[in-house]
Subunit: 191 residues, 2 copies
DNA sequence: CAAGTGATGGGACTTGGTCTCATCAACCGT
DNA sequence: ACGGTTGATGAGACCAAGTCCCATCACTTG
């Protein structure tokens, strides 16, 4: 096995995902992941900040897509319409290939506290990114924070639903955010 | 220094907080914290699950207070009124002593990713706890999730404000949640 | 063909975290 | 007063995560 096999990063992700599924996250050593990928521990840490991150690659791209869409939204769009644009903008990353590993990945994350921790931080990162991007548009601080938080909620639920049902993520995200908005309205509706 | 000095746990917290402030979280070894507290590494890990947890003790109590208050709220209370009761119920833990270390603690947490990660997970824990407690009351799943998320947002902002201004946490929490509700309303208001 | 570049291998090292066993103070019943 | 029990601690071995530094090798470029 030569040194220059391509796609080292993807091989590491696959090996990690499979090993985590087979024997659990804690029972899998980084050296073992690297070995299955035909690499070494050193190389693993060159590609990923830490053991957790192998399951969260590409999330920075998502935040960039969100903030980009928020900045690019029409000037007269209301906050939750801007949020919708942000969610829609992430759709390009929701490929069939991603959907294939999705459930396995979610299951692994759910099974371990360290991973749920990292996941939670990623979501907070999304919320902060969207809040800042909304503030940039002149949306009041608290309004921005509330809208961003609702957006993250819709994003998560939309993602799970998309994994279950498939189809176009744009549709799923729009529908999910719509339901969140309805829920918000029902909270403040009279008895 | 005898074995039975009291308050081992509190001494560890203090030592950790001070050392983290003095030299940073990453540059402080658990052994060093234990040493300053007149204890050993073994004892540290007997009191705290891991190095991070020394800054998050007592958060389980908060979740219990929240869920208890939600379960005990009047049957005809609307979701966000129930959430208000949950936040108010946590006020008993917001003592002067807690307020004294608060800013130092927040600063340390903000300075390190591992700690922000743990903090994020705690907040998710609150959200899940409140969501479940609301569902228990018959609140629809999504409504419960939205209300809980808004509750966590208000809780965080209220906590920060309470650290700045002091006073009764009950007042601060009520006011902050009220502002969040106004922000929600303004999001759906016509242009 | 020689020099350079970039990804990899390898191994030493620190530290978080687990585990096991010994120790010792306080308590309790007789 | 005495011996046994309990519970918190100390001590040290041990494993894995993560860092660092340097050697190595494939591929590229002049």
């Amino acid at each position: 096995m030569g040194r220059w096999e391509p796609d080292a990063r993807e091989r590491l992700v696959r090996a990690a995902l499979d090993l985590f599924s087979e024997q659990g996250y804690e029972n899998t050593a980084v050296a073992q992941i690297a070995e299955r990928a035909g690499l070494t521990k050193s190389t693993f840490f060159r590609h990923f900040r830490d053991k957790r991150e192998v399951l969260f690659g590409g999330q920075d791209v998502l935040a960039d897509l969100m903030t980009g869409a928020i900045a690019a939204a029409p000037a007269d769009a209301r906050p939750l319409e801007v949020i919708e644009a942000a969610l829609v903008a992430t759709a390009v990353t929701f490929t069939d290939e991603r959907r294939a590993h999705g459930p396995q990945r979610l299951e692994v994350i759910a099974s371990n506290d360290e991973l749920r921790e990292r996941s939670a931080l990623k979501m907070v990162g999304f919320a902060i990114a969207m809040t800042d991007a909304l503030k940039q548009r002149g949306v009041p601080e608290l309004d921005a924070a509330v809208a961003a938080e609702l957006g993250v909620l819709a994003f998560n639920r939309g993602y799970e639903r998309w994994l279950e049902t498939g189809g176009d993520f744009v549709e799923v995200a729009r529908r999910t955010l719509g339901e969140v908005r309805e829920a918000v309205a029902s909270l403040e509706a009279a008895e």
